[in-house]
């Protein structure tokens, strides 16, 4: 049997048996329900009608708001429609300060320009898109009256009829999105490390508990079993996480309560990369801990130092979230156990240099390689020692 064939067989069993186990399905469904709840419930509770506060400066705005209200009425189909309230301002400056204070969502200037604050990830307003829509409708009607060329109509449809001006620092919006991604990524990372680490832990201990490991070892090498478990559980974890992310994105779109930001691609790619590194680093150690004990009751104890390490890394990262360029964040980038949390955060905020990222990845990968060797040795030393808990040093000494 070639080395990788064995790894794949172990991984495939893990995927099949764990993937269809009640525990996996229930935990997946539960998390998805929780997620959907978090997305939909606020909208449901938030009342059945949304009121858009529109500021008006100069002429022409009133017409657009009326058209928007009409469109909303048509769209509502019997449900309470979105409401539009108007506030008239004498100058653009007054409208801007009202925007900044939050008394209005957008302002229309002379019926041609749209002033917005810029949508953050949370609490972005959909008033601006409603107004763009109505402006387009109004213009198309005008064009039809003027009997204009079809090309002009199409041209209009392809563009936003109102000119948009975002108040304040234009990058604030992007910062907010990046912050949200960093925060979401951090929570996902933490969940992944603990959840899949625990799967690895219990998966290894289970094979010792029911002694099947002796049969496996009669034909497979310890590293094949260990690697197979990592691959199988890793794939299941990635699958679960991917499903969560896709469902969350789709639900956000359907719900329409939040303007879905265009995700900065570098952040997403880095997040996935770090997710894999973080999983490998922690799951390897959890797996080694699992090989030290023969009973499930002892497994959590054996893994306690690792759980604490994972939690410390997580807490550490909140400092980085608050100050992604600060000294704590910089130090955390180069500590392998905090790097999977901290580095994506700093990247999301654009607060990490290329060489820092490269060094951080390098340090983490080097640690993973080291841990895999150490864990592999502990694993092979611990596997066939049944009964009381084996010491790390003892397992390491007797392992191969």
């Amino acid at each position: 049997m070639s080395g990788f064939k064995g790894v794949w067989l172990v991984a495939a069993r893990e995927l099949r048996e764990r993937g269809r186990s009640k525990a996996y399905l229930i935990s997946s469904v539960f998390t998805i329900v929780l997620l959907l709840g978090a997305i939909f419930v606020p909208a449901l509770i938030g009342g059945d009608s949304t009121t858009h506060e529109i500021g008006l400066v100069g002429e022409g705005g009133q017409e657009l708001v009326a058209a928007a209200a009409e469109l909303a009425e048509q769209r509502a189909e019997g449900e309470p429609a979105e409401q539009f309230e108007t506030h008239v301002f004498d100058s653009v400056e007054e409208a801007e300060s009202a925007l900044n204070e939050g008394t209005i969502d957008v302002a229309v200037v002379d019926g041609t320009e749209l002033l917005t604050r810029g949508a953050g990830f949370f609490g972005g307003s959909s008033a601006d898109s409603r107004l763009q829509e109505s402006a387009a409708t109004v213009r198309i009607q005008d064009l039809v009256v003027e009997n204009a060329e079809a090309a002009e109509v199409l041209n209009l449809l392809a563009s936003e009829p109102l000119e948009v001006r975002i108040l304040g620092d234009a990058s604030e919006e992007e910062q907010a999105i990046r912050g949200a991604i960093a925060f979401g990524g951090l929570i996902l990372m933490y969940m992944a490390v603990l959840t899949y680490g625990t799967w690895m832990l219990s998966g290894v201990t289970e094979e010792k508990t029911n002694r099947v490991v002796e049969v496996l070892l009669s034909t497979l090498k310890p590293w094949q079993i260990f690697a197979g478990k990592l691959v199988g559980i890793g794939l299941l974890g990635v699958g679960q996480m991917a499903a969560l992310i896709v469902i969350a994105l789709v639900a956000l779109r359907l719900n329409d309560s939040i303007d879905l930001p265009a995700l900065p691609l570098d952040s997403v790619v880095a997040l996935i990369g770090w997710f894999i590194l973080g999983f490998l680093l922690y799951a390897t150690l959890f797996g080694a801990a699992g090989s030290l004990v023969s009973r499930m009751e002892d497994a959590q104890n054996a893994a306690a130092p690792l759980s604490i390490l994972a939690v410390i890394g997580y807490l550490f990262s909140f400092t980085a979230l608050g100050d992604p360029g600060g000294p704590v964040a910089v130090v955390g980038t180069f500590i392998p156990f905090t790097a999977p949390y901290v580095a994506p955060i700093r990247l999301a905020f654009g607060e990490i240099g290329g060489w820092e990222m490269a060094l951080s990845v390098l340090v983490t990968i080097a640690t993973i390689v080291l841990m895999v060797r150490l864990a592999g040795r502990v694993y092979s030393g611990g596997l066939l020692r049944f009964g009381s808990r084996v010491k790390w040093s003892e397992a390491f000494r007797t392992g191969a």
Binding site: N210, R211, V212, E214, V215, L216, S218, T219, L220, F386
Partner: protein, 305 residues
């Protein structure tokens, strides 16, 4: 196996294994052979080194010295995929279906998916478990779990079978099934070795035995030859009359026991028992007199004393 010199026809050779765990010497030069078509009973008191020796065959224990040869060459990982192993502590995935489990174990021994599936079905049928093949192992009775365990050691049609205490915990029916299967596999030319404390069963099944004590093989060979060559004989006597007096004239008594009013003695092989019989007949009525080669149990006791 054409081309393999006759000297190597002993398929599995255990040579001078040594293994020490800190203060405990588990193996101290253990040497024995398992030949195809000749079932070997591997005997020894608890803690004598049986399990350690068996684990060494599978590379689960790395000996400090000595070697395990398969057809004359050092055992390789590849060879081990053609070995079947039933560990002393049974091990199966409790939540995995019996059939799936056998397929998986077949595949990690190198079978392709289809072959493993067919073999799993065949063995479940042979062992009377075809109805339970879709049940998780944890829902089977203890005896049926043992059967699945046996199937697990057989599913890849191994050339060598090593079973650690396969009969322990089995009811008489289960033991019969186990014995039948082993007999059949051995007759089909496989090398079969198993350890057991049920010596009458071993005597029944095995062509060869190896007895290990304190990590050393103290007796090994064909059961019949060992009995004939043994320096002791078994003598049983029951009589009306002063049996104690009669036996007190007997030389070379190794051990004496009283079972249901019957004397059971182990005596030196060269002791002349005709004199005892004559004396007994003159002193009273002899109800029962048996002089025989020692039983396997007798040999075992003698060997590990």
């Amino acid at each position: 196996m054409a081309g393999i010199p006759l000297a190597f026809a002993a398929m599995l050779q255990i040579k001078d294994l040594h293994k020490r765990y800190d203060e405990v010497v588990a193996l101290d030069g253990a040497t024995f052979e398992v030949q195809p078509g000749r079932m070997l009973g591997f005997l020894g008191p608890n803690g004598a080194g049986k399990t350690t020796a068996m684990r060494t065959i599978f590379g689960l224990v790395t000996p400090d010295a000595g070697e395990v040869l398969w057809n004359g060459a050092q055992v390789t990982t590849d060879d081990r995929t053609r070995f079947g192993y039933m560990p002393e502590q049974r091990g199966l995935y409790p939540k995995m279906k019996a059939h799936d489990q056998l397929v998986y174990l077949g595949r990690i021994h190198g079978l392709d998916k289809a072959t493993a599936g067919t073999a799993a079905t065949k063995w479940l049928e042979t062992l009377g478990l075809e109805e339970r093949s879709a049940d998780p192992v944890e829902r089977l009775s203890h005896g049926n779990q043992q059967r699945v365990q046996l199937a697990a050691a057989l599913v890849h049609d191994p050339e060598l079978m090593v079973l650690d205490e396969p009969f322990s915990g089995l009811d008489p029916i289960g033991a019969d099934t186990m014995a039948d299967v082993l007999r059949r596999e051995s007759a089909a030319g496989k090398a079969v070795v198993f350890s057991s404390h049920q010596l009458d069963l071993v005597e029944d099944l095995c062509d060869d035995v190896a007895i290990i004590n304190r990590g050393k093989i103290v007796l090994a060979g064909r059961v019949k030859q060992l009995k004939d060559a043994a320096p002791i004989r078994r003598l049983e006597l029951e009589m009306d009359g002063p049996s104690g007096l009669v036996l007190s004239h007997l030389d070379g008594i190794r051990s004496a026991d009283m079972v249901d009013g019957r004397h059971v003695l182990m005596i030196e092989a060269d002791t002349d028992v005709r004199k005892v019989l004559a004396e007994a007949e003159s002193a009273g009525t002899v109800r029962h007199f048996i002089y025989s080669t020692p039983s396997l149990t007798d040999l075992f006791r003698e060997a590990v004393a």
